[in-house]
């Protein structure tokens, strides 16, 4: 891949469309497109065709884009999302394979190039991509965001893409129209471009719905047009109207033959797909008895759920879920480790399992466990050794606890008087004092027993 490489350092005569060059289809691109198509339940066509989409633009090296038109790679399928009124399937029209264009740099970063000049970076040109077209089934900006989130998760689960919107590896054009009532025909739509985060998609749609509703309420008409999301001003602006729309003059790409994939390849790909996020979420809930909230968090990345299941093999599932969605994720964020890299996180599932075993056995308190976890991040020692080394084991010696309890009682006569006068809610304050002095290592139950005796 070419993301992040210096401009024009990752290109070649074919990608630059040099006269005399010819395209060749990338087999890996077909394999990845097939994984995605099968994951969303689309029908992969054994015979699909490439076509040329002709238009002039300085970032388009050949003056046409190799795409698919009347015979796309896959059709149908859908993506399920959660909405306040329950799960909803967003149907897909098609998935087709095409090549990317280059990228224009309008604000060029070079001191020796006049600012009035736009530059072209060709690194992306010729890189294969898939375009996924959905049916008009989305009814709210939040649904669009949920759809994109789920799509992104599927792209990552299937390994089809890292789907990083900031890097442009997942891009979205959103079409939106409004209508007076649910059963009225669709209104005229506008297409919004330049949406490089899911948050912007939702914001742009919200703005655009408002703009169109305003126009209609003032008795004006919506015109079909392409609009750009202006991030700085938080609004959509006109890019081109329908009259300026291209006639792409599609025709079959003569340089590439039919894309023929055999049944066996499709079946083998289907068999090799991982368990998909929503199915996995259901299974985690039923198999481990964890909360839907934790399950959703765990399946946000396949590797994070793998991490959890590895821990849950030999540790109690709910504790495992609590730790993975709590401490593990917190530290991942802190250390800038993405959930997709969970399996290379410094505290491996095996080491976390060791820590949870000590915790469950009552050998350390919950707060000590967090301390041990923090130490484990930067050392290779196992949890037991760290507990030993740092003296974080639980105070289980009753006489040692009694000393602390009697100290607390002796040093706080007024609180004791208050408690004994009937303000029993101050008991928690005493517990807190004892825990503080023992560094959280005392067993809460033993503390309560000792305090009850001492305050009686």
């Amino acid at each position: 891949m070419t993301v992040g490489a210096p401009p024009n350092s990752a290109t070649c005569p074919v990608c630059l469309g040099f006269p005399g060059t010819l395209p060749v289809l990338n087999r890996e691109a077909v394999a990845l497109a097939m994984r995605l198509a099968l994951a969303v339940g689309a029908t992969v066509h054994e015979d699909s065709r490439f076509a040329r989409k002709n238009y002039f633009y300085p970032d388009l090296p050949k003056g046409y884009q190799i795409s698919q038109y009347d015979r796309p790679f896959a059709t149908g399928g859908g993506i399920e999302i959660d909405t306040p009124s329950g799960p909803k399937k967003i149907r897909l029209v098609r998935i087709h394979i095409e090549e990317d264009a280059g990228r224009l740099l309008h604000e060029n970063p070079f001191d020796d190039v006049p600012p009035s000049l736009s530059l072209v970076d060709w690194n992306r040109a010729g890189v294969p991509l898939v375009e996924i077209v959905s049916e008009p089934d989305l009814r709210a900006p939040e649904e669009a965001a949920a759809y994109l989130t789920e799509l992104r998760r599927l792209l990552r689960y299937t390994g089809a893409s890292d789907a990083d919107m900031e890097k442009g590896n997942l891009r979205c054009d959103a079409n939106v129209s409004v209508r007076p009532t649910e059963d009225a025909p669709y209104g005229t739509r506008a297409e919004i471009k330049n949406l490089n985060s899911i948050r912007f998609v939702a914001k742009a749609l919200e703005y655009e719905v408002g703009r169109q509703a305003d126009l209609l309420s003032r008795g004006e008409r919506i015109v079909q047009e392409t609009r750009l999301w202006d991030v700085a001003r938080g609004r959509t602006v006109l890019m081109r109207s329908k009259e300026e729309a291209h006639d792409y003059r599609y025709f079959p790409e003569p340089d590439l033959g039919a894309l023929v994939v055999d049944r066996a390849w499709i079946e083998e790909t289907a068999r090799s797909l991982p368990e998909l996020p929503r199915a996995r979420r259901s299974r985690l809930i039923s198999q481990y008895g964890i909360s839907p909230g934790d399950a959703e968090t765990l399946v946000s990345a396949r590797e994070l759920a793998d991490y959890f299941e590895e821990v849950a093999r030999s540790a109690p599932a709910r504790a495992a879920a609590a730790w993975v969605t709590g401490e593990v994720l917190r530290w991942m964020r802190e250390r800038k480790v993405s959930p997709e890299d969970a399996l290379s996180f410094p505290v491996s599932p095996e080491r976390l399992t060791g820590l949870l075993a000590i915790l469950e056995a009552g050998k350390i308190s919950a707060s000590s466990a967090k301390e041990v976890f923090a130490v484990m991040l930067d050392s290779s020692g196992d949890a037991a050794a760290i507990v030993e080394e740092r003296g974080l084991g639980r105070i289980s010696d009753a006489s040692a606890l009694d000393v602390v309890v009697s100290d607390v009682v002796r040093e706080n006569p007024s609180q004791v008087a208050l408690y004994r006068s009937g303000k029993t809610q101050t008991f928690a304050w005493f517990v807190g004092q004892v825990m503080k002095r023992t560094g959280g290592r005392a067993d809460p139950l033993s503390v309560r027993e000792a305090l009850t005796r001492a305050l009686a």
């Binding site: 469309g17 010819l22 072209v120 025709f251």
Partner: protein, 479 residues
């Protein structure tokens, strides 16, 4: 191939062979104008490399053979301009696959041959650089678009050349200049490094002075290439042996549609002579019909122009080519293309753009593609009855320079006999078949079924032996 065999057997060095070729170029190309550029320094390097490899014991099928290469193919170290202003200064990054295969076989590249701009034309008059003249009559066109390649071979400057054929661009000039020109089955020869005109039709092939030489060059350049997804079939088996095999018992079909009314008298007589020669060589001569053949020109100008309009969109002067100074993006496009392309190229781009436009696609491009499929089917049926199909290569001998430049439609009809094989992707060869009364060459065309190069070479070789034309230097280039 005599030149190669002399160098292979070390009777003569590649370097001496090249020196002789350059002497001949020096002597006659001022009159002919076949070469856009001669590159002696690079060619001598190549000749010395071939000599060294022969000395090291390598068996090179084209050892030291000096080639002219049509200016729409990549030769490492030389420009490739398609005889167009818009590609002036374009240096390709490597050899075209076909050129690289010639190089591997020991060939030497004398220079870049003139052509109609972007291979669009039938007279080489559409070159932005210069005229090329017919070595048989310097007042006449050499045919086109591979006119430079044909004239260079015909006038004895080089024994072989590469041309490209989209609707007849190898066969028509070869016939006009009295040499052999062969267009292989579409998909036989890699198009990688051939600047595209119409991708579903373009095919590289040899122009030579004998059928056996064409077979040798074809054998070297043909075969699948991972860089061109449209290459197909296997490496050719042994076309040179096929050329010597003879036609006894072979079913040779004469195309009925070619002999319809309006056929030039001299061409008709020439065809009749060819029929007698095939019969005396032992072939079973029969008439054969390809009913849609007369529609080929109409189909061709829609399909080829449509593909060209897209293939030539890349010439926007953003990445290469002369960049006019201009105010904004639209004027960059308009000015670079207005200045860079000649009138015929513009005409085809406009035609093709129109044929693909929304609302016209079905009426033009869609319909043409369906008719093309029917034509291919017609040919497939015909080849159930015959092994090869014979028809003239050109409807008239070479016309005078300037005679048809004002009348593009008449010019387009120059390809009437060559376009059908192009549309159906068939192998087709033109073999010199004698001269008109005015002393201008005529050509006989032989078509085979897809990937049926061997019967084509067999029939062509037999015809060449039967007619036994004397090996004379064309009168325009006698020294």
């Amino acid at each position: 191939m005599a030149t190669a065999d002399e160098v292979r057997s070390r009777r003569r060095s590649a370097e001496d062979t090249l020196a002789d070729a350059l002497t001949r170029v020096e002597a006659v190309d001022g009159r002919v104008g076949a070469f856009l550029e001669v590159t002696p320094d690079l060619a001598f390097q190549e000749a010395r490399a071939a000599d060294a490899r022969v000395a090291a014991g390598e068996d090179l099928p084209l050892a030291g053979v000096p080639f002219a290469i049509k200016d729409n193919m990549w030769i490492a170290g030389r420009e490739a301009t398609c005889a167009s202003r818009i590609l002036r200064g374009f240096h390709p990054p490597a050899d075209a696959t076909a050129v690289s295969r010639l190089r591997r076989a020991g060939a030497v590249f004398v220079g870049r041959a003139n052509m109609d701009e972007f291979a669009m034309g039938s007279s080489t008059e559409n070159s932005s650089a210069q005229l090329t003249r017919n070595p048989h009559d310097l007042e006449r066109i050499p045919g086109g678009s591979s006119g430079g390649s044909a004239a260079a071979v015909a006038s004895g400057m080089v024994p072989a050349a590469l041309g490209s054929d989209t609707g007849g661009s190898i066969r028509q000039p070869a016939a006009c200049c009295g040499v052999v020109g062969f267009k292989p089955t579409y998909g036989r020869v890699s198009r990688y490094g051939l600047v595209a005109f119409a991708s579903s039709l373009d095919q590289i092939g040899p122009l030579t002075r004998s059928v056996a030489d064409a077979a040798r060059v074809y054998r070297v350049v043909a075969g699948p290439d991972p860089l061109d997804s449209t290459t197909a079939g296997e490496d050719p088996a042994d076309p040179e042996s096929a050329a010597g095999r003879g036609v006894r018992g072979m079913r040779v079909g004469f195309l009925v549609e070619a002999e319809a009314e309006g056929l030039d008298d001299e061409v008709a007589r020439n065809l009749g002579e060819a029929r007698r020669l095939f019969e005396s060589a032992g072939a079973r001569v029969t008439p054969v019909s390809v009913p849609r053949a007369p529609e080929a020109i109409a189909i061709y100008y829609v399909v080829a122009s449509a593909e060209a309009s897209s293939n030539l969109a890349r010439y926007d002067s953003v990445r290469y080519g002369p960049r006019p100074s201009c105010r904004d993006l639209a004027s960059l496009y308009v000015e670079s293309r207005t200045l860079g392309f000649g009138p015929e190229v513009k005409r085809r781009i406009l035609l093709g753009t129109f044929a693909l436009a929304a609302g016209y696609y079905e009426a033009y491009y869609g319909r043409a593609m369906r008719a093309r499929a029917v034509l291919s089917h017609d040919f497939a049926s015909a080849f159930e009855q015959v092994d090869v199909i014979v028809c003239p290569s050109i409807p008239t001998p070479a016309f005078k320079i300037g005679e048809k430049t004002e009348d593009p439609l008449t010019m387009y009809l120059s390809d009437i006999f060559t376009v059908p094989a192009s549309l159906a992707g068939l192998p087709a060869i033109t073999v010199p078949s004698g001269f008109s009364k005015a002393g201008l060459p005529l050509g006989l065309q032989i078509l085979g079924p897809r990937f049926g190069e061997e019967p084509v070479f067999a029939a062509a070789g037999a015809f060449e032996r039967e007619i036994a034309l004397p090996d004379e230097t064309p009168r325009g280039v006698r020294t």
